[in-house]
């Protein structure tokens, strides 16, 4: 074999070897990045799902509204440490709603959904800011979305007084619908007491137009069950 050819082959061989080593290293780094991303998301979820403790916490029987069959929500009494501070209390009961359904069949919100923030304005307007998972992982459908929203509204109605109405945000943004159907552009009435065992649509009321709700009164806001 000519000497030049041997040199070319040797160079080519070395290049292939270096390429394979680089590829392996690159692959390892990509896998590391993927693992890091998963652990970051897990860490964020774990952090947000941490039990919320305040100095005013007291053990009380809370009513958390989970699914009862395909088309209803019903309150389940659970003993929780709840704060006297309405904002913290709301976070505590919503956390329980997401993380502690007694059975998988009673789950109303996706397990990956997290409450990113909860705020109460001076006029009694509550703002619940959920992570994107609430919108992307709630099964798309009128009934399934209504059950999800009802469980949030009724759980707040049943455990946190002094709230007038609720705005649900997804990752800090107002969205048209939860998962393609149920209107999230307005407010949900929190001033009426939650009605245990009520079918969706009769226990809570739907969103009001944002533009007109400022003029409404709590009396007018109280929904009259249709039947």
């Amino acid at each position: 074999m000519p000497r030049n050819l041997r040199i070319v082959l040797a160079i080519l061989g070395a290049a292939v070897l270096v390429g394979l080593i680089s590829l392996h290293s690159l692959n390892q780094r990509v896998e590391q990045f993927a693992e890091t991303k998963v652990s970051d998301e897990q860490a964020r979820r774990d952090l947000l799902a941490q039990p919320i403790s305040t100095s005013s916490d007291a053990k009380v029987k809370a009513s958390i509204f989970w699914a009862a069959g395909a088309d209803k929500t019903t309150p389940v009494e659970v003993e929780l440490d709840l704060s006297s501070n309405p904002t913290q209390r709301a976070k505590q009961v919503l956390r329980a709603l997401v993380t502690d359904p007694p059975t998988p069949e009673q789950r109303t919100l996706p397990a990956d959904a997290t409450l990113l923030g909860f705020y109460i304005l001076s006029d009694g307007t509550a703002i619940a800011d959920f992570s994107q998972a609430l919108a992307s992982e709630t099964p798309s459908g009128i009934l399934s979305e209504e059950i999800a929203v009802n469980s949030i509204v009724q759980t707040l109605q049943g455990n946190v007084s002094s709230l007038r109405r609720l705005k649900i945000l997804i990752h800090g943004q107002e969205v048209d619908t939860l998962a393609g159907h149920v209107d999230l552009t307005g407010f949900f009435d929190l001033s009426s007491p939650a009605q245990p065992g009520a079918a969706p649509g009769s226990a809570v009321s739907g969103p009001a137009a944002a533009g007109s709700s400022a003029n409404s009164t709590s009396t007018a806001a109280a929904p009259q069950p249709r039947r």
Partner: protein, 200 residues
């Protein structure tokens, strides 16, 4: 004028089943079959989409709002639930939305459904009764839910949701079309004499 509204479309597929059923396609098929039957019975019918497009909520409402005697029927298929249930929904407002938003009687676009809430609920109940006779296990009466598509419709408006895309064979959903069409046609026939002409 019956405005048939197949939900979703385009990149918005709606519910997707593991067996391959896609809501946007199923409801378009339902709407086309319903249109043919309603026209055969003498109804005037328009569709908010007749292809794989995805009109906005406002564009869908605008089609109904362009007619003074419209009835809006939105069609959906759920992602969950035992196959073969049918539920009808009318819109639910709260928080004291006034019957009219201005002294001149004009209604804000986002509240256009407000004056028609009772008419819509009546239509929803009539359709639910007809559907319950054909889809075993369905509720006896409709319920009111804030379905976004209905909010800006200035006419009696309902959404019908059939369960579900979870079927193993997407073609099996076609079997729901005949009872759905019959129920809609009968419900609209019963309701028709009460359809308001112009604003209620």
């Amino acid at each position: 004028m019956v405005v048939l509204d197949p939900g979703h479309g385009g990149t918005d597929t709606g519910a997707r089943g593991a067996g391959g059923a896609v809501e946007k396609d199923v409801v378009l098929n339902f709407a086309r079959i319903t249109r043919a039957e309603l026209e055969r019975q003498g109804f005037r019918v328009v569709m908010t989409r007749n292809d794989d497009s995805n009109p906005s909520y406002d564009e869908r409402a605008a089609i109904a709002n362009a007619h003074r005697d419209a009835v809006f029927v939105s069609l959906h298929v759920s992602s969950t639930g035992a196959p073969g249930n049918a539920r009808v929904y009318s819109y639910r407002f709260s928080m004291g939305v006034p019957a009219t938003s201005a002294s001149n009687g004009l209604v804000a676009w986002n509240e256009a459904q407000q004056p028609y809430v009772d008419a819509s609920h009546r239509l929803a109940d009539i359709l639910q009764i007809e559907l319950a006779q054909r889809f075993a296990g369905s509720p006896a009466l409709s319920i009111a839910v804030p379905v976004r598509e209905l909010r800006s419709v200035a006419a009696p408006a309902v959404a019908i949701e059939i369960s579900s895309v979870s079927v193993a064979d997407p073609n099996s959903l076609t079997a729901f079309a005949p009872p759905l069409v019959t129920a809609i046609a009968r419900g609209l026939t019963i309701y028709r004499p009460a359809i308001p002409i112009g604003a209620p």
